[in-house]
Subunit: 204 residues, 2 copies
DNA sequence: GTTTAGTTTAACCAAATGGTTGACAAACTT
DNA sequence: AAGTTTGTCAACCATTTGGTTAAACTAAAC
């Protein structure tokens, strides 16, 4: 596949590995397939990354470091609570269009390997909702929004944004629409989600 | 493992296969492990189910037939819209406590194999939201709830209920709570979700 | 021009894995 | 009771798979 210089072989491997791992998951991914995708010999994978496990971890960390700023940047921005909700919903849809398999990959592998969470959480760039929490508590106290735990609100925001993509196959079936119509629904959600949330919490 | 008579070996296999497949997914599951779990010889798996693929399909269909009534029964009940929302949120949490890996398994394998959806949708007991849709449209027209597409409301309900379990590892990390505290949050959601939704759509 | 260090490949290997076979036993059938 | 079907198992098989190795190639250093 394409590379973008920088130890071209090494980054070609990482790119191909990302593609295969994200689409198939650790267990179903094949080293040979990654090598083929990168257009290089299988031995190169081990030359640069030692083992499947280590290659996987490199991919996972790289993937997580794409998602984290997405969450962090918006949740901890210097904007009002409502703006955060609007921005997140809007941006997340755009993000997923660029990386369709990424969120599912992360969630899946995190479930398969719960200990992994601890490693990741320990890292410096791991998102932190403390600022968001403080903001929510304030708005509740000021009577701008109805009483709600910041944790629950955060889970709601994440759920409404992430699940429609992860559960897309199931939802397509249940809602009984084709790919095109579902894509249209997702498009609408860029504003629908924020409306839905703000309507729920805002005290007029 | 335990069996519950009825061709004891065959059902022992299915039970063990469910357990392993749901926890590890198709790709990572091992036939030997399923046999061990069932306390029988590996050849028996093939005697009763021919191949890994067929055993997997049996498990998947069985799993889906547990989830479907959960959705169907409530969404198409003879109750008011608000009652449906309340009942679903309440029941779903109880369901997941009994079958922790099931929803994730279904969504995961459906993603991995999108063609599978068509097969499943064709079956008679596949949930259908037409009644729910009609109900939502009516309530909008009557001015009981604000204007919202039934499909979007449905997706919101599903997202708010299902995602917190599927993404539990990620959310635990982001919200920064331990297993115990997270379980507590899930407990609260039995009522929190319905409140959140109804607050959003209800016109006073 | 030779050495040297890093890079790449074809061929190979051992373990794991899904699946098969043939013997054997238990349960029906007649 | 003899024969037939059904269920069960240990051993086996072919293929796949992650991983290794030794030799060949490349390009910079001397």
């Amino acid at each position: 596949m394409d590379t973008k210089e920088l130890g071209s072989t090494e980054s070609a491997i990482l790119n191909s590995a990302k593609e295969i791992f994200e689409r198939k998951g650790m267990a179903a991914a094949r080293m040979q397939e990654i090598a083929d995708e990168a257009g290089i010999n299988k031995a190169m994978l081990h030359y640069y990354y030692r083992s499947k496990q280590l290659l996987f971890e490199a991919v996972f960390k790289s993937a997580f470091s794409m998602l984290a700023p997405q969450i962090n940047g918006i949740i901890n921005a210097e904007t009002s609570l409502f703006e955060k909700i609007i921005n997140f919903s809007n941006n997340y849809v755009l993000f997923v269009l660029k990386h369709p398999y990424l969120p599912n990959f992360i969630i899946q592998e995190l479930n398969r390997n719960p200990d992994f969470v601890k490693q990741i959480v320990a890292e410096k760039n791991f998102p932190n909702i403390s600022k968001f929490k403080q903001q929510v508590d304030e708005e509740v106290k000021k009577g701008v929004i109805r009483p709600i735990k910041a944790e629950q609100l955060f889970i709601n925001i994440m759920s409404l944004n992430i699940f429609p993509f992860i559960g897309s196959q199931l939802l397509k079936g249940l809602v009984n629409v084709n790919d095109e119509a579902y894509k249209q629904l997702m498009e609408e959600r860029k504003t629908e989600i924020a409306d839905f949330i703000i309507n729920s919490i805002k005290l007029k």
